[in-house]
Amino acid sequence: MAALASAGFLVCPGALRADEPSPIGKPPSLVHFVQAEYPKDKHDAGVTSRVLLSIEIGDDGKVGGVEVLESGGPDFDAAAMAAARQFVFTPAEAGGQPIPVKITYRYDFTIVTKLVSLGPQVNFEGVILDRFKKEPLANVKVRIRELDLDTKTDAEGRFSFTDLVPATYKVEIRHPTLVTVVTDETIHPGQKRTMKYFVEKKEDDVDEEVVVRAARIKKEAVETRIRTEEARKVPGTQGDTLKVVQNLPGVGRASFGSGQLVVWGSSPKETRVVVEGVEIPSLYHMGGLRSTVNSDLVKSIDLSPGAYGADYGRGLGGLVRIDLAQIPGPGTHGYVAADIMDTSAELSTAVNKRLRLAVAGRISYLDRVMAAVTSADIGDSFPIPRYDDYQARAGLSLRKDEEITTTFLASDDHLRRTIPNSDPRDQRTQNIDTSFHRVFVNYARLFEDGSSVKVTPSFGIDRNTERDKFGDQAMDIDTHTLQYALRANLRRRVHASAVLLLGMDVQGQRSDLSRNGSVNQPPREGDVVVFGQRPPPGIASDAWKISVFSVASYATVDLKLGNWTLTPGLRFEPTWIDGDHRLPFNTISTPVGYSKLDAPVNPINVPVLRNLPNPRLQVAWRPISRLTLNSGAGVYGQPPSPEDMSPVFGNPSVVGSYAFHLTGGFSLKLRPTLALESVAFYKKLYGLVSRSENPSPPVGQALTQDGTGRVRGVQLLLRQELFKGFFGWVTYTLSKSERQDHPDQGYRLFDYDQTHVLALLASYALGKGYEVGGRFRYSTGMPRTPVTGNFLGLDGYSEPTFGAHNSARIPAFYQLDVRGEKTFILQRMKLSVFVDVQNVTNRKNPEEIIYSQDYKQKSYIIGLPTLAVAGARLEF
């Protein structure tokens, strides 16, 4: 191995006046080159540089003065100047006579690695440094996962591996005091790979995450963070990282095929999903089959079921935060995967040292598979959604710890079905199209003192179209929303024990909506309705426009006071709401629009305090090193849904809802990778929107906003992080979620309430590329209103009479899933083949209650039978 310097120069006559024409007939020629001494620490660290010099050459060819025009760093400058002073040139000539000149000389410090095939050769080496102090870290374990090969760093932080077979490997860097890093490294034939890793020390109470370079985010009072490589191996997810969210503590089991997130007894619409701070409308494709963001672009998934910090808002429920991974480099990487449902692929490449690109996509074909193997009209009876998603990213390193990344996300879903019938009044058709597109730019800079700045402007378009027919009753809903947002924050240490986070979170939405059909269709949470029930006969129509613009500012301070960590925060979220008509259109009067300013209020009956910014607080106390007691509280707001603001179908006067969250719990490290956590939680919801109970509601008040809700519960999590090839967790949540639709009514169970939710999950690497895993789930069935009788209704159809609201339940659900995977290392590629078998006991899980046409007999829709989904994934 040798360090070489390359050079090039430009010549100008150094001793002549600038206004004289250049008389040079022959440029100087370097006849004695001196190798610059590569600064050792830089060479060892793999740092390259470039120095631009100005060299004076006398008429005798000797070097006179040497100046640095563009610095490559003090040590590189010094080395380059020292070498240049020893250069000897043939003199430049003018008119046949030697003359003095001044040349511009570029000295490139590059590292060229050559391997000699004599005996064992180190072909992967590196150094591990503390990210902020830049100090070498000794005794850090470096492991090649695929080969189950490991070593430890020496006193200078160095490590090396000998004669690795050329391939792409998962390199794991682990130490009890450090954040574990897992990164892909490719070993090419005949070349040595030299790396420098900057790693961070663990923050107190922060779980590990897969982070190579990013500003850390303070953990919320309650938060579960899952490593992407663990998530991919969870049974039942078919390798889809983001589907693991459905198995996290505090998350209820969604109705099969819905893909909804029910977090701590909140409505799916109350939980926000953000990608790099940018809100997306849905984490999953229709039916919950797949996530809408490619797993290979994801760095980490964080679920905060409640009481999260001040940097996020606009939701009464939980928060799912997805951070995207840095695009890998150098070289070209990617994967192709396929199973019975869809095919996906990802490709990333480093154009140069600064610019990296990635594209990914997925397209489903399950509907076509079914059409091919079953009768032609099977898709009419069994609705199979067709979905696709695609992403593109471009990352540009501007300079050290400063990067700008542009990301494009898109997702489409389509559902078509027709249920034919001999009576046209019983024929049903359903056509649903949903899509979202997001483009955002992420500027991030990390300063030497640990401060960071992040700015994320974004723009997006959401489209939702549903056209249903139930006999002669049609329902059309169209929603087209333009969304624009800007998030910016500054994180700075202002004191030895205090870190300040200041930020702005601007979001605007312009929605154009139109709707035709029954006020009661589609059903809302809280509706007393039977699954599949014919909608009541009224047909209404409206088209309306709603703009919602909110400028939220927030501030949070991380205070570390001995064993205590306090994170108080404030969020102020004024929201401007604008609508185009307050009353239904008519042929007589001109529509009159409206505007109003709204902000989430604090649920306290003191006017001064009620309208102040919403407080958030997280407190942690660590009496001993393995035990942390924590608590969180806060007030959260959510702007009104444009769908609820129609003067015909809803109520234009609705404003935002708000909630109070309170949590308290502990985290106990039983072993370095084994932890037990428990959290008790309470939520109170205010200003919920529900249907009017008035038989003759006023104009524009089909919905009212006098509902409240309350949720309380406790969750447990026993989690074994990846250790000797094994990881898993057991989570149990006991909760009760209730709603009071109107003040004169009592509390009822929330439609998605689940008293008990249990999940056991484990995965183990058997070695030689084999991995197996299992998942067991149990959950209480969701409440339903029992049918107590029937009567002959409109058009000769029976209609149900009901018992007490949500006083019955669907029977409990439990299911065992298993998964097996085999990984093959193929030269530079890795092939994984998996089988994911769901419901191995073939348990007939009731998913929904259905009734006979006369409502005299009850039965259930049964969920998934035993089903094996096989797939393959090729990485390169």
Binding site: D367, R417, R691, P697, P698, G796, E848, T866
Partner: protein, 318 residues
């Protein structure tokens, strides 16, 4: 083989969207094994406020049509709240018996029916906001619910509603359109079943008639019934467009409900869509395997609430 194929289909379907698949539950509604209220209707089927309407019912039992003098009738004046998903308010169906007993019930369409159940908002009271008018059905109609309740049947209570169409002038339309509507719209009249033919698998056709001897069908035999509508059953009428500035012509769809005390129909209901011109509807029926007397009912409804029915006798024997 067929079973495994079906399991595979269900497995695939279950991956995607199990909730869309609603399997058949319980006995077919076309099979009469207990008291069953088949129809409740007003005569005339559409009335203006202040008009007299006579309500009657068709109650079937395994022994045939059943007339019950203790049936109790009530007119309900409570509109359906937006929070309820049935076609009629739950307040209209209290557990108490009907207050007006009789085989039939004579009533007068309330004078404020178009305000209670129709497009005309009630007068605004001082200090109170205007009331939201009701939404019309797909035919532009509004309906008054009239309950009939049988409280003394041996096997329990049976309840049903007549939905009497109210003749209301559309609101939210300009003057010329309203004038056009008034000149073009004709109150609904009942559809009719002109004849019903039984067609055997060999092609032999017999017209059923309540006045003649019951038709003989072999045990287990599958026969077709073809019911022909009377001329003018599917009427054409104007409907106000949602924009309120135009009238859209619409033709009634017709829907036949089939009932029998034994055997099985292929379809419980058949029908003719509004854009179809068929003048009859057919259904297949498989006779029971054992000899018995059969009672057959056909109930024809149009999409504006008009009703007609016929009842026939069959004999299943070798």
């Amino acid at each position: 083989m067929e079973q495994s194929k079906r399991a595979f289909i269900c497995a695939l379907a279950a991956i995607s969207f199990a909730l869309g698949c609603k399997p058949a539950v319980g006995q077919a509604p076309s099979l009469i094994t207990d008291y069953a209220l088949l129809a409740v209707m007003g005569q005339p089927p559409e009335a203006k406020p202040g008009d007299k309407v006579t309500y009657s019912y068709l109650l079937a039992s395994p022994a045939g049509t059943f007339d019950d003098n203790t049936a109790g009738w009530d007119v309900c004046l409570t509109p359906k709240p937006p929070a309820e998903n049935n076609a009629v308010a739950s307040a209209c169906n209290p557990p108490t018996p009907g207050t007006n007993p009789g085989l039939t019930f004579d009533s007068v369409m309330p004078t404020d029916a178009c305000q209670l159940f129709g497009p005309i908002a009630p007068p605004v009271q001082a200090g109170k906001p205007a009331i939201r008018p009701r939404d019309p059905d797909a035919t532009g109609g509004y309906y008054l619910p009239v309950r009939v309740k049988f409280s003394d049947l041996e096997t329990g209570e049976v309840t049903g509603f007549a939905f009497e169409r109210i003749s209301c002038t559309p609101a939210n339309a300009n003057g010329p359109v309203i004038q056009d509507y008034k000149s073009q719209y004709h109150a609904n009249t009942d559809p009719g079943i002109a004849s019903t033919d039984l067609v055997t698998s060999g092609g032999a056709r017999t017209t059923l008639d309540t006045a003649t001897q019951p038709v003989l069908v072999s045990p287990g035999e599958t026969v077709d019934f073809e019911a022909t509508f009377t001329t003018g059953s599917a009427e054409t009428f104007p409907v106000l467009a949602p924009s309120g500035d135009a009238l859209v012509p619409q033709t009634e769809s017709l829907h036949m409900s089939w009932f029998a005390t034994a055997g099985s129909f292929v379809h419980d209901r058949t029908g003719v869509a509004s854009d179809e011109t068929a003048t009859s509807t057919t259904n297949s029926w498989k006779a029971p395997a054992t000899a018995m007397d059969i009672r057959l009912w056909l109930v024809l409804r149009d999409s504006r609430g008009g009703t007609a029915f016929r009842s026939y006798a069959l004999i299943v024997a070798q």
